[in-house]
């Protein structure tokens, strides 16, 4: 039995080293454009690193037993009786428990870190979804509104996300931001962009809707730019000046973190006849 144990251990060790190196070498296709994305990225890697030894152990046991203890030709007898091993069960349970608790702790801490504002100088941006377009309001620029999302790099941003009609979902895949936009409800998402970026024809850095929301759901996407803070300030002030000059700012409702103007809905034709 000791010989079998040593062999299984050796096979497991080799498989584990291969698996851990493989995980380290092969890139997991997850984004790292923001601190929040980096946190999720690291959590994914940690999950793989911790799970790999368990995965290889199960396979090492399975393959070894299938090969070594298989029934050979002409053998019709029972195998040797198998008895429980309390120490082995305890060791297996203890190691599994430790791994699960460690991963739960890691994930909880990461979730806490990526779902809160990073510092007092957080910039709020209101995200408004409606069929089938995104718009963004900037309270720091007089409540000016745009259909382009412009963000400052290396600054904390809090999105206040809502919808005017059905449920949408704000998704910026390259920044790993995804949060539902629900009518009459303000949801929050946080972001600390790590580098400048902009939407491109290859499909990177677009704001899209990730909740099936009707006829043109697939077309519901908008451009995004991440720029240096000074450029962001200049862009915002120019937007505010433009919308103040043409009178748009006067027509927009006073900025509020909750945005849900009452709907005015015409009756359906069948209602008109009754």
């Amino acid at each position: 039995m000791r010989t079998h144990g040593i062999r299984i251990f050796a096979i497991w060790l080799v498989l584990t080293i291969i698996a851990e190196v493989f995980i380290g070498v092969v890139p997991v296709p997850s984004p790292v454009g923001s601190d929040e994305a980096l946190g999720a990225h690291q959590t994914v890697y940690m999950l793989f690193y911790v799970a790999a030894p368990f995965f290889t152990f199960v396979w090492a046991m399975l393959i070894y037993n299938v090969v070594v203890f298989r029934r050979r030709g002409g053998d019709t007898g029972d195998g040797p009786p198998v008895s429980d091993s309390t120490p082995a069960l305890l060791i297996w349970a203890a190691i599994s428990f430790t791994a699960v608790v460690f991963l739960a702790g890691w994930g909880t801490f990461t979730l806490h870190e990526i779902t809160q504002a990073d510092g007092p100088n957080t910039q709020h941006i209101q995200v408004i979804g409606q069929q089938w377009i995104w718009t963004y309001r900037y309270p720091q620029f007089g409540g000016a509104e745009s259909d382009v999302l412009v963000l400052p790099v290396k600054h904390s941003v809090e999105f206040d996300i809502t919808s005017l009609d059905v449920v949408h979902s704000l998704w910026i895949r390259d920044l790993d931001i995804k949060e539902d936009a629900v009518p009459g409800v303000v949801n929050h998402a946080f972001l600390f962009a790590r580098h400048t970026a902009s939407s491109n024809q290859a499909g990177n850095n677009w704001v899209v809707c990730n909740e099936l929301c009707g006829l043109y759901h697939g077309y519901m996407r908008s451009r995004m730019r991440i720029v240096p803070y000074a450029a962001w300030q200049a862009w915002g002030k120019a937007l505010e000046a433009h919308e103040r000059a043409n009178g748009l700012l006067k027509t927009l409702p006073k900025y509020s973190s909750k945005y849900f103007p009452p709907p005015v809905v015409p009756p359906a034709p069948q209602d008109q006849s009754t």
């Binding site: 069929q131 377009i133 009609d165 043109y216 077309y219 748009l248 015409p266 034709p269």
Partner: protein
């Protein structure tokens, strides 16, 4: 024919029969004799030309009338050909337009519909047009009074959004004209942003069915 040959023939014939049945089944499932054949008249609204300076041009002449667009689901509100008010044959969905790439497109819209409040007044701003303006009954504006709006003609991919003024009563029309430039070849969608349908938040009916308050523009 020996036994093995018979078996091979049987398997081959069976496979062929199963394949034929599967193909026929798929074709039968795909064919729906009751499906409505949607005939879009949008291209009748388009006139393509070339300016004296060689610039490709296109003109799109449309109208909006309440409950006369005989699109896929019957007479609802929708964009139609511009003479729909006087010619019932033009009361069809005008939703699909073909215009040249890198062209100057002029759009005129006769709006016979009344005023409807915008949920988001951001779309009272004229965006993406030549000069940043539209002409309402010949008068240029860059932002429309939100109390006057009725619909919009919005092409998000081109950054174009133009509010349509509604008529104050139930007769006559308001005439809107604006120009925008197309880019590279491709297909973009247009839609009305005003929730002018019915159902949940005004996005039912003509807002959610192709061929009424939305459609496609093929560029190139």
């Amino acid at each position: 024919m020996d036994r093995n040959t018979k078996a091979a023939v049987l398997i081959g014939v069976s496979s062929l029969a199963i394949t034929v049945i599967a193909v026929l089944w798929v074709l039968a499932m795909s064919y729906n004799p009751f499906a409505y054949t949607y005939k879009d008249e949008g291209q009748k609204a388009v006139t393509i030309g070339t300016a004296a300076n060689g610039q490709k041009t296109a003109t799109i002449r449309l109208s909006i009338q309440p409950t006369t667009n005989t699109g896929p689901d019957g007479p609802w509100l929708g964009y139609q050909l511009q003479d729909a008010a006087t010619n019932p044959a033009d009361q069809r969905g005008a939703a699909i337009f073909h215009v040249p790439a890198h062209a100057l497109v002029t759009v005129t819209v006769k709006n016979y519909d009344s005023r409807t409040a915008l949920r988001n007044p951001y779309f009272t701003e004229v965006q993406g047009t030549v000069g940043g303006v539209e002409y309402v009954n010949g008068k240029p504006i860059s932002v429309m009074n939100p109390n006057l709006t009725s619909h919009t003609f919005t092409i998000p991919a081109l950054g174009v959004s133009v509010p349509m003024e509604g008529v104050p009563g139930s007769s006559g029309f308001e005439l809107m004209r604006f120009q925008f430039r197309t880019g590279n070849s491709g297909t973009v969608r247009w839609q009305c942003i005003v929730p002018c349908g019915w159902g949940l938040y005004g996005f039912g009916g003509p807002m959610s069915q192709f061929g009424y308050m939305n459609g496609l523009i093929h560029i190139g």
